[in-house]
Amino acid sequence: MTNDGEKMKKALCAVISLLSVLTILVFWYMISWKNPELMPTPVETLKQMFEMIVNPTGVSLFEHVAASFTRVFIAYFSATLAGVLIGVAFGWSEIFRDFVHPIFELLRPIPPIAWIPIIVIWFGIGEVSKIAIVFIGAFVPIVVNTYSGMMQMDPIYEKAGKVIGANRKEMLLEIVIPASFPHILAGMKTALSQSWACVIAAEMIVAQKGLGYLIVRSMESGNMGNILISIFFISGISALLSYLFNKLEAIICPW
């Protein structure tokens, strides 16, 4: 492919991807044209969003976003801490693995959303129950990835460690954990998207504030505009977070 042929092909692709964004907008217009009272046109939604940000009525959009964000923040970091610790314990100590891992495997298939009813009964409808649900959503992938990272470590590292005189503690801290770090990060990335899914689900079912709550309230009042705006914020934030995560990952874990 000569250079300019290549450039021309790339330009064509860019045009086509613009075209696809266009199709979404056209599709959106079609739906709103078909049932106007239910579905606002993209322009109306933008105006509504602008309106909500500039002079909010009642609970502002910002507060909803902040509520959801803090819940994810708290749950995600505690889940990461607990998940990595337990994942490493599974990988490193055979006794802990033999006794506790079967229990983890028993509870793992239950999706985090299925925990909502029982958690609400246990912790009521306060902040604790929502954070608990997000915690479960983030905790499981981190444990799974940390554990598999340690199991799949190349045995040559263990042999090399032994031969250059590393004792058990040094082997764990200096060799095994760094070697499984890429897997741990992969687990944290999945956990990030899972946490966002869980916080929305939890808020949709039991909350007074948060984007999930805003969506359900708007659903009941048939305010599609609000739903679309909240979805825009949800996907925007989680896309931004995973983008930042990838950048962070490239810096701290290039191997």
Binding site: I164, A166, I175, A179, P254
Partner: protein
């Protein structure tokens, strides 16, 4: 703490059970390793050379027999090993990789950094202290691994087919370099290879492993003066002799 006398490997046997079936790999191996000698263990592909090496390095336990030195069991602090697949830690720079054995021995930070720089100079890698293993070539990675082995400052160095993954020309340069380092800083070396030319180029003495389960079949003393020329007649004569006696006898069709 240094190793005084020779090392003797006494009737080492090892077998694995591969889902029920017991496969004998090594059958009472006996040989001596003399002080500051460059000993090469030669054998065809899967004849258990690496298994024997890991037993010497006590990474794995033999079924029977032991490895004695100065009257007591050879200890891990007395030896270090270089692997075919380098085994450098990708998350550490070359300098930090070489520092690790000293760090595990509790050497202070400045001292080990300075010593590590010295060892990198020994393998002609000054200027690469802060680059990561992924940024350097296979030959250079192996030189860092050799520097790391020397950094442990033990008396015995074990090499498990270290140049197996390198192309022929890089292999020639690494062999020349290894002999240069070995002559400048005398250690007892046990070197595994399945390449006869490499064995004759490097060894003071060659021990041939063969048969299955493997046992010592031959032993050759190489008196050619160093640095050796791979095309001179004496070199080629020995190489031909080993080839006839050791290799063709039991070439296993792969």
């Amino acid at each position: 703490m240094s190793v005084v006398g020779d090392i003797c490997v006494r009737n080492i046997s090892k077998s694995f059970n591969n889902n029920g079936k017991k496969i004998e790999v090594l059958k009472d191996i006996n040989f001596e390793i003399h002080k500051n000698e460059f000993l090469v263990l030669f054998g065809p592909g899967q004849c258990g050379k690496s298994v024997l090496m890991e037993i010497i390095a006590n990474i794995s336990e033999p079924d029977s027999g032991e490895i004695m030195c100065d009257g007591k069991k050879l200890r891990e602090e007395d030896l270090c090993m270089v692997f075919q697949r380098y085994a450098l830690f990708p998350w550490k720079t070359c300098l930090k990789n070489v520092e690790m054995p000293m760090k595990f021995k509790g050497v202070s930070k400045e001292k080990r950094e300075e010593k590590a720089k010295e060892y990198l100079k020994l393998v002609e890698l000054e200027g690469f202290e802060n680059s990561y293993p992924r940024q350097i070539s296979g030959g250079m990675k192996q030189r860092v691994a050799i520097a790391r082995a020397y950094a442990k400052e033990c008396d015995i160095l074990l090499f498990d087919e270290p140049f197996g993954a390198l192309d022929a020309q890089t292999r020639y340069s690494m062999e020349k370099e290894l002999i240069k380092i070995w002559q400048s800083e005398k250690k007892t070396v046990v070197f595994i290879t399945n390449n006869i030319e490499e064995a004759v180029y490097l060894a003071d003495r060659i021990i041939i492993l063969g048969g299955s389960p493997s046992s010592i079949t031959e032993e050759f003393k190489i008196e050619i003066p160093r640095p050796r020329n791979r095309s001179d007649q004496a070199f080629l004569a020995i190489r031909k002799e080993i080839e006839n006696r050791a290799v063709h006898s039991d070439i296993v069709s792969g």
